[in-house]
């Protein structure tokens, strides 16, 4: 099994052992079938034990899994006739955010998402899914076009955060994110956001002001990457695990905090284990929600989005 995570190791070792015994049976003609059966049962139990009780930190690792399906994977499986568009018309084309128009069950929609690379070369091109201002401005341009032509907007969120670099600051990282937040609040079309992997701080939020926000079961959404939180709170970035546990960043946490509208189940062991099943589950949610939001007028959509965010937050009165 490629790309195994540390907590999956006992299971992988057990599965390897089963494979070995099978081979032994074939090669030497000695019958180990009882032993294989016993181990298979044990592997099943172990898998249930591991994947049924994932800790927040383990979910973070799954969200960052190198084989985790990306925005382009979902676009390919969910939509037809995808036409990718490029550039912010101001500075450049940021490959860490992709977007364009496509058809969902025959109807045109606008799709946008953070794009992580599939290998090292691709990751360098995609800047590991961390956008510069031109990425957010490209996304804004594409969304404004969706608004103009009355197409729903689907956003896939998967970034560890906005890129913390010199050029990004010089070109107005803050302003680019802020403007998206304000403008997304004004669009007269339905906006559905799905966190498919990492929902890292302002970089994630910049394309997440939706009428509906869903998270995949093993994704996370946080004000700051757990390692950075640990660096700030305890001056030690190696305490990322502790930060992940205490900051309430998993899908069930966000549902409980009233930030998201629902959780999309993942196949056993994570989205990358069964891309088709995962894409089908995502599509079902998008189709259902578009159906619901389609009944709202443009003004109601704006109002719905405003109220959604107005409700978020917890405080008390003296």
């Amino acid at each position: 099994m490629a790309g195994e995570l540390p907590f999956e190791k006992p299971l992988v070792e057990l599965q390897d052992k089963i494979k070995e015994l099978r081979r032994f049976t074939e090669e030497k003609g000695i019958d180990f079938s009882d032993e294989v059966k016993r181990l298979e049962q044990k592997a099943k139990e172990l898998a249930e034990q591991i994947y049924g009780n994932l800790t927040p930190w383990q979910r973070v690792q799954l969200a960052r899994h190198p084989e985790r399906p990306t925005t382009l994977d979902y676009i390919q499986l969910l939509f037809t006739d995808f036409i990718e568009v490029h550039g912010d018309r101001l500075y450049g084309d940021d490959h860490s955010i992709v977007g364009g128009i496509a058809k969902l069950d025959g109807r045109p929609v606008t799709v946008i998402g953070h794009q992580k690379g599939k290998d090292t070369k691709d990751n360098i091109k995609r800047n590991f899914g961390m956008a510069h201002p031109e990425g957010y401005r490209k996304a804004l341009r594409i969304m404004q076009q969706a608004d103009k032509f009355g197409r729903p907007i689907i956003c896939f969120i998967n970034t560890s955060g906005a890129y913390p670099g010199k050029a990004a600051e010089e070109r107005g990282q803050s302003e680019a994110i802020a403007r998206n937040l304000r403008e997304m609040a004004t669009f007269r079309v339905p906006i559905i956001c799905i966190v498919i992997g990492e929902g890292g701080s302002g970089g994630a939020l910049a394309i997440s002001v939706g009428n509906r926000i869903y998270m995949l079961e093993n994704s996370y959404y946080s004000v700051i990457a757990p390692e950075s939180a640990a660096a700030i709170l305890w001056r030690d970035s190696s305490l990322g695990m502790r930060a992940a546990e205490s900051m309430k960043i998993t899908a069930p946490d966000l549902l409980a905090l009233g930030v998201i509208d629902g959780i999309i189940d993942e196949p056993f062991g994570g989205a990358h284990r069964d891309l088709i099943a995962q894409a089908t589950a995502v599509k079902t949610v998008i189709a259902e929600q578009l159906e619901q939001l389609g009944r709202l007028s443009p003004d109601e959509l704006i109002q719905d989005r405003y109220e959604k965010f107005k409700r978020i937050g917890e405080y008390a009165s003296l």
């Binding site: 913390p164 304000r182 302002g202 937050g313 008390a316």
Partner: protein, 314 residues
């Protein structure tokens, strides 16, 4: 660690000698600290962290907390800021002063820290909002106070700003916000992040109503505050030398592994890069804001133009 302790201290206006005395004699910081201890009697005087000029605290306050030597702008508390700007020096009406933070994530020590800051600042949270008069014109104003949890934005700050904007819309008044913030409040996690979207959505309504929003960034304005309402002014103004940015300097240096220019993320750097309309000295702030408000609220002026506008007949 001790260096950090020392660096932190320099952000504050006064240099209490008792804290300095705690620095052990064996550290690098002790020499400098030792000298300071001798030079600056507790509470009475201040030594400018930039040029070393020593001020009597009273003189510094009279000078709007600006160093006479190098024009370094010290932090101002929210009440001090209101005092320096508004007619009569106070709000005519304060909004939502009773809102206080809860501990939604059950974060250890958070409530204790809040209580400490409440006691030290006499504020319930990191921002004061309300209505006041500026140069005779009614405005809605919000002022963040960095003494309270580094004026980080949690649920209360986000809610108070949102409600202030809603009040500006209801009363049809201009909105002015003075930012000073380390960013989102870690202890409220993702709820803090969402306040960025909430406040920005409120500003989209203000925008739609064609009402004025002036954002004034003071030292420091970072992270989630910089990347939401602070950057969305019809006019973006900053005080001289204010540090403004999305990511912190150290994080960027670690990421790109190069040294950054000295003026990186200063107000002047942002002005040069096209991110600000102007950098305004504190002594000119009141007049600049009054003028901006006056030019956007004088209905007479607007109507004169509309009456003469060729577009009007269409």
């Amino acid at each position: 660690m001790l260096k950090d302790l020392f660096g932190k201290k320099r952000k504050f206006a006064t240099v209490p000698s008792e804290t300095l005395a705690r620095v052990p004699a064996s550290t690098d910081a002790s020499k400098e600290a030792g000298t300071k201890e001798k030079e600056v009697p507790e509470g009475l005087m201040n030594k400018c962290p930039h040029c070393g000029t020593i001020h009597y605290s009273k003189d510094l306050e009279k000078n709007l907390r600006v160093c006479k030597g190098c024009q370094f702008h010290y932090s101002m508390s929210a009440p001090e800021r209101l005092q320096s700007l508004l007619d009569e020096g106070v709000l005519t009406e304060e909004f939502d002063a009773n809102l206080i933070a809860s501990n939604p994530l059950g974060f250890p020590d958070y409530l204790e820290k809040l209580e400490q800051d409440m006691a030290n600042t006499n504020l319930n949270e990191a921002i004061i909002t309300g209505e006041g008069l500026l140069g005779g014109n009614r405005i809605v104003i919000g002022v963040m106070d960095s003494r309270f949890r580094m004026a980080s934005m949690g649920s209360v700050v986000g809610e108070k700003i949102t409600r202030a904007i809603e009040q500006a819309i209801e009363r049809r008044l201009p909105f002015i916000l003075f930012s000073a913030s380390g960013g989102a409040r870690m202890q409220e996690g993702v709820l803090s992040l969402m306040q960025m979207a909430k406040t920005s959505a409120a500003l989209s309504r203000l925008d739609r109503e064609r009402l004025l929003f002036v954002s004034v960034m003071t030292n420091p304005t970072y992270g989630g505050v910089s990347a939401s309402f602070s950057s969305l002014g019809d006019y973006n103004i900053a005080e001289p030398g204010a540090m403004i940015g999305f990511a912190g300097r150290r994080v960027i240096e670690q990421t790109i592994r190069q040294e950054l220019p000295k003026d990186f993320q200063t107000a002047e750097f942002l002005l040069k890069n096209g991110q600000l309309d102007m950098v305004v000295h504190r002594k000119d702030m009141r007049q600049t804001l009054s003028k901006l408000v006056e030019m956007h609220t004088s209905r007479e002026g607007v109507e004169i133009w509309q009456a003469n506008s060729p577009l009007k007949s269409h």
